[in-house]
């Protein structure tokens, strides 16, 4: 295959997007068919490129070290394929879900434009090209959120834009530092020790990556978007694309660009962020009243596992993190799509209003339960495999605290999904929701595909581990030792697996106790935790957005601008406006008094002048 084929995954979706923009809103079916067809073509292209393994395209762009060069190697091919797969599922899903959306004309355009930019970002081999495609996603995310048509959806769109902007600007700073220290911008040529300036570069690049992935503290726009943005967007961006891109870049940063040593300060930073994200996000998720918001918080908490995995800097940990990324993308998208199908049919995602839909929507219920079990890490699904690898890695770092945090996360994840599943599908049939029936097949099919994938990746985990994850970690391991994760992947009888099973049981007990206390109402299952003394205040504070980096940031910016305006800008203007004028008038007044029109006065001035001149000349004479 020629090198220019690498341009196809970028140019093809962009062209499709432009065509989709141009199709007038009136023509109904053509847009949907074109979108699904092109996503299938893209999927085929993904498979074709995956089989190619290695391809490089170098072209001149802006000179002085900035070239338009793309590089397909094992890891980026795998991500490209995953992106194409999810794009296909979501486009198929949106055909029905977004059918009668007033601004449908723009929706598909933005989706395919986002796909083009993501493919570009994955394939880029020059930092400037990477940041170009990486930041372009900001605009498509902004536009897609505004499609939610809620009154507050624009506010959330701006919030995502500014938080994204903050992370991407820090990434530019990181790239600048890398360029300053290595002198080159081609990504595969950069390999640094993270000390001093390079450490700062690592931190800044890491901020860019986890900002896109949606980890703490840059996560606050995702829960708001869960309500304000269309559910297909939630499945499309926060669930799959952003996680894939974010963790792909984080993996490349810690593997390719910088040497991450076990227990080195940089690794510690990653571990801490991962742990904190897992625990705090899962606590927030537990108490949510809305189905989509609950899922969005889980999306944030699962990212914690991936970051924790990569942070361990141990081959099994990193492999676990990367494997968790693809698993999470699958079951999170599945969960969101099932929530979407519930919303499609029941009209609301309020846990209070829903109940007992399993009978009317059997397939969605089945899909949901498989994905829920997978996310909770129940044996033998894919969640269990990747979580075990992360637990092993976390233990081997020698700091058990991180493993404990991971386990706590696992407990509450399972507890909250029990609450969600029980209140939406399996509890008594709620009266507020009218009689419904299963959603159309284009909605249900993607959920089922994802469920099946979760099962296959779990049971037959040799397939993903061997050809997707193994090559990525190959560079990491000592030369001799052959990395084999598949061996003990599914055996239940190791101490680590035992602890995990214990956690699941505790979660079951917790849910049962909460369900009993709440008077047999599933959606109140998490109330006991909610009303614990210290936790209660924290929950209220976070409800009032106190910990939200965006709200605090905006307040700070507004305050700083007011200070600068009042103390620097206005005084300078005051000088020109008032002081110069007053000085002028003062002197003018001074001389004017000397001109009172009397002749004697003038004569006095004249004679005085004469005497002065005479005196001066006499002084100056040699």
């Amino acid at each position: 295959m020629m090198a220019t084929t690498l341009l196809w995954p970028i140019i093809f979706p962009a062209v499709v997007a432009i065509v989709l923009f141009l199709i007038p809103a009136r023509i109904k079916l053509v847009r949907e068919v074109l979108a699904v067809l092109s996503s299938i073509i893209l999927l085929y292209l993904g498979f074709a490129l995956f089989s190619l393994k290695n391809l490089i395209l170098k072209a001149d762009w802006l000179g002085t070290g900035i070239y338009f060069d793309l590089r397909l190697y094992q890891f980026s091919a795998f991500i490209l394929l995953a992106l194409a797969g999810f794009l296909f599922l979501i486009t198929l899903y949106s055909v029905i879900k977004m059918y009668d959306h007033p601004r449908i004309r723009e929706y598909y355009g933005y989706v395919f434009l986002a796909a083009a930019f993501s493919n570009g970002a994955v394939l880029a081999n020059n930092f400037i090209l990477l940041i170009f495609f990486w930041e372009a996603l900001l605009i498509t995310t902004y536009a897609l959120i505004t499609l939610g048509l809620k009154p507050t959806s624009h506010r959330t769109a701006v919030k995502s834009l500014i938080i994204g902007g903050l992370c991407d600007f820090s990434m530019i700073m990181g790239i600048g530092l890398i360029w300053a220290s290595t002198g080159t911008l081609t990504m595969d040529a950069v390999h640094l020790e993270p000390h001093g300036l390079a450490a700062a570069a690592f931190i800044l690049m890491m901020i860019g990556a986890i900002g896109k992935a949606g980890a703490m503290p840059f996560h606050t726009w995702i829960p708001d978007a869960a309500l304000d943005a269309p559910v297909t967007f939630m499945a499309f961006m926060p669930a799959s694309f952003e996680k894939l891109l974010g963790i792909y870049l984080l993996a490349r940063i810690s593997l390719d660009f910088f040497e991450l040593k076990v227990g080195s300060p940089m690794a510690m930073v990653l571990l801490i962020i991962g742990a904190v994200t897992i625990v705090l996000a899962v606590f927030m998720a537990l108490i949510q009243k809305d189905f989509k918001k609950l899922l969005s918080f889980h999306a944030i908490s699962q990212v914690g596992y991936m970051i924790l995995g990569i942070g361990t800097a141990i081959p099994i940990g990193i492999a676990g993190g990367v494997f968790h990324m693809i698993n999470h993308a699958m079951y999170k998208t599945g969960l969101f799509l099932s929530a979407g199908s519930v919303e499609h049919r029941a009209g609301t995602t309020e846990l209070k209003k829903l109940g007992g839909l399993a009978r009317e929507m059997p397939w969605t219920a089945f899909g949901f339960s498989v994905c829920a079990l997978a996310i909770s890490g129940v044996w033998p699904l894919n969640g269990f495999v990747s979580k075990e690898m992360v637990f092993h890695g976390a233990l081997e770092t020698g700091y058990p605290i991180f493993a404990i945090a991971a386990w706590v996360g696992a407990i509450f994840t399972f507890a909250s999904f029990l609450k969600a599943g029980h209140s939406v599908f399996f509890g008594p049939r709620s009266t507020e929701v009218p009689k419904t029936r299963e959603s159309e097949w284009p909605i249900v099919l993607p959920i089922l595909i994802l469920a099946i994938l979760c099962i296959t990746f779990g049971v037959y985990n040799k397939l993903p581990l061997e050809n997707f994850i193994q090559p990525v970690i190959a560079g990491q391991a000592e030369p001799g030792q052959h990395l084999d994760f598949t061996a003990g992947a599914l055996n239940l009888f190791t101490p680590v697996a035992g602890v995990s099973m214990l956690c699941l049981l505790m979660a079951l007990g917790l849910h049962f106790y909460g369900w009993k206390r709440g008077g047999k109402k599933a959606y109140l299952a998490s109330e006991p935790i909610h009303h614990l003394p210290v936790l209660h205040q924290l929950y209220d504070l976070s409800e009032a957005r106190f910990f939200d980096i965006y709200e605090q940031g905006v307040k700070f910016l507004a305050w700083l601008s007011k200070i600068m305006f009042k103390c620097i800008d206005r005084p300078i203007d005051f000088i020109y406006e008032k002081i110069f004028v007053v000085i002028g008038q003062f002197f003018t007044g001074l001389f004017q008094k000397a001109h009172n029109g009397q002749y004697a006065n003038y004569l006095a001035w004249t004679i005085g002048g004469l005497i002065a001149v005479v005196w001066v000349i006499l002084q100056l004479l040699p």
């Binding site: 002028g584 008038q585 002197f587 003018t588 007044g589 001389f591 004017q592 001109h595 029109g597 002749y599 006065n601 003038y602 004569l603 001035w605 004249t606 005085g608 002048g609 004469l610 002065a612 001149v613 005479v614 001066v616 000349i617 006499l618 100056l620 004479l621 040699p622």
Partner: protein, 492 residues
């Protein structure tokens, strides 16, 4: 030939009152303008001979028998003659319409011609006492012209102007007599030769002090400037243009620097004194101008400030400085004449000179507004008009002569200058239209043409400043810069 500059105006002035008897307006207008046009044409004709022979000397013979009336003509005073005749021609053109409500056109023209003759004489003459005499001729004519309106305010202003000028002339005469005492003769050449080999430092110093006081008052330098802001507003517009544009330059600046450079010889001490006085008058007059709300009074202060620039330029002593000073003299004469004539047309249109009563005239009288803008910007030194080049050359000369302080003063003062000219623009022309002036219409024909001619001059000299500079300014500057040698080699 050069003698005609004195003889023709005097002759015409003598017979104008008679002509005025039987034709009130037409013939005096035509005759005066024709005479001045002839003088202008004559001065242009004289460029070739002066350029070729440096300077030449004329001896008048009365019907064959030579009666040793000597006048000398070199680059410097030819330049002055050209400026005088050019500006006074425009002024007389302006006053054709302006003097309707004064009446007595003939008397006015006669006095004006006597003043022109006085100035021409002062410029052409070669000995000190005749300088004094022609100074008096121009001064007496100007006293009468300032009081021409016969209002109580005009008479009082003219009286004040008379009393101060007389004091100045007395001091000038005193120092001429001291010099006569020292060198025993009055002609420039003899005095120059006498003073060279006489080391009477103190006496010459005191004479110079009196000269500076006398001619300083005539040129309205700051300590002696008090008469100008009162004399100008009350004088009729053409006369204040004449006074501000020409008289203070000829009887003040020309006389002082002709004596300083060509007779006594410039010394560093004297240049420092003159530059200090120039700089003071720039700043003080500019500040005073800011506080006025009568157009003519503000323009009068502006003249004092700009004369300060001219003196600052001339006093540097380097040829470039002198060239800058002279070029600014010409530009200021043209631009200030334009502004005073413009204030005359404003007064003619609206009947008032008070800036607070005027407002937004630009809409109704675009030509007057436009010409006022061009004149103002030219004096403020804003390119591409003429004033910019002369100020630029003065500042270059200042910096070359290492007077950074004065250069900074010159630069900052031009901001003040622009400030008060913008004040006029804002209050009179550029602001919202004052409803009182809904019905005003453009000034009469001759007044507008005079304004337009002077405005065009400002613009064209600005754009084609090279030919103007090479033909007029460089020979004048060389003549002055050669200093005492210039007079010694006059070859009689």
């Amino acid at each position: 030939m050069a003698f005609s500059f004195i003889f023709i105006p005097l002759l015409l002035a003598a017979c104008l009152p008679l002509i005025g008897k039987f034709s009130k307006k037409l013939i005096p207008d035509v005759l005066t303008n024709a005479a001045l046009a002839f003088l202008l044409f004559n001065s242009i004709l004289l460029i070739k001979p002066v350029l070729s022979r440096g300077s030449f000397f004329e001896n008048i013979n009365w019907f064959g028998e030579n009666i040793n009336l000597q006048i000398a003509l070199d680059g410097f005073n030819l330049f002055m003659l050209f400026t005088i005749s050019l500006v006074s021609l425009c002024i007389t053109l302006f006053s054709i319409d302006y003097l309707k409500h004064y009446g007595h056109q003939a008397n006015f023209y006669a006095l004006l011609l006597v003043m022109v003759a006085g100035m021409n004489g002062l410029v052409l003459v070669i000995d000190l006492f005749s300088v004094y005499l022609f100074l008096e001729v121009a001064a007496v004519a100007s006293y009468a012209l300032v009081a021409f309106g016969l209002g109580s305010e005009e008479l009082e202003a003219s009286f004040k102007y008379l009393m101060l000028s007389v004091v100045a002339s007395a001091f000038i005469l005193l120092s001429i007599t001291v010099i006569f005492g020292l060198t025993g003769s009055l002609s420039f050449q003899a005095v120059a030769r006498g003073l060279q080999d006489l080391n009477a430092g103190l006496a010459v110093g005191v004479c110079l002090a009196f000269f500076i006081m006398g001619f300083g008052l005539k040129a309205a330098l700051v300590p002696f400037h008090a008469w100008l802001p009162d004399a100008h507003p009350s004088a009729p517009a053409p006369i204040s243009a004449m006074l501000s544009g020409l008289l203070i330059k000829v009887s003040g600046v020309y006389a002082l620097f002709r004596i300083v450079y060509s007779v006594i010889g410039m010394t560093p001490a004297l240049s420092r004194v003159l530059m200090a006085m120039g700089a003071i008058s720039i700043v003080v007059a500019a500040l005073l101008a800011l506080g006025q709300n009568d157009i003519k009074r503000m323009l009068a202060y502006s003249s004092i400030s700009q004369v300060g620039y001219i003196i600052l330029g001339l006093a540097i002593g380097t040829p470039l400085g002198i060239a800058g000073g002279l070029f600014h003299l010409f530009n200021h004469a043209v631009a200030k004449g334009l502004l005073f004539l413009n204030s005359g047309s404003i007064q003619h249109i609206t009947g008032t000179r008070n800036l607070n009563e005027l407002g937004g005239l630009g809409k109704k009288v675009p030509i007057t507004a436009g010409t006022n803008l061009i004149g103002a910007l030219s004096i403020a030194g804003v390119p591409p008009l003429a004033g910019f080049w002369s100020k630029l050359i003065i500042i270059i000369a200042l910096v070359q002569a290492k007077h950074f302080g004065y250069a900074l003063v010159a630069v900052l003062a031009s901001i003040l200058t622009l400030w008060y000219y913008l004040l006029i623009q804002r209050k009179a022309f550029f602001g919202p239209l004052n409803e009182r002036w809904q019905k005003i219409k453009e000034a009469p024909f001759w007044m507008t043409t005079a304004n337009i001619i002077l405005a065009l001059l400002c613009l064209l000299v600005g754009i084609f400043f090279t030919p103007v500079f090479n033909t007029w300014i460089t020979p004048a500057a060389d003549a002055l810069a050669r200093g005492v040698q210039q007079v010694l080699m006059w070859g009689i």
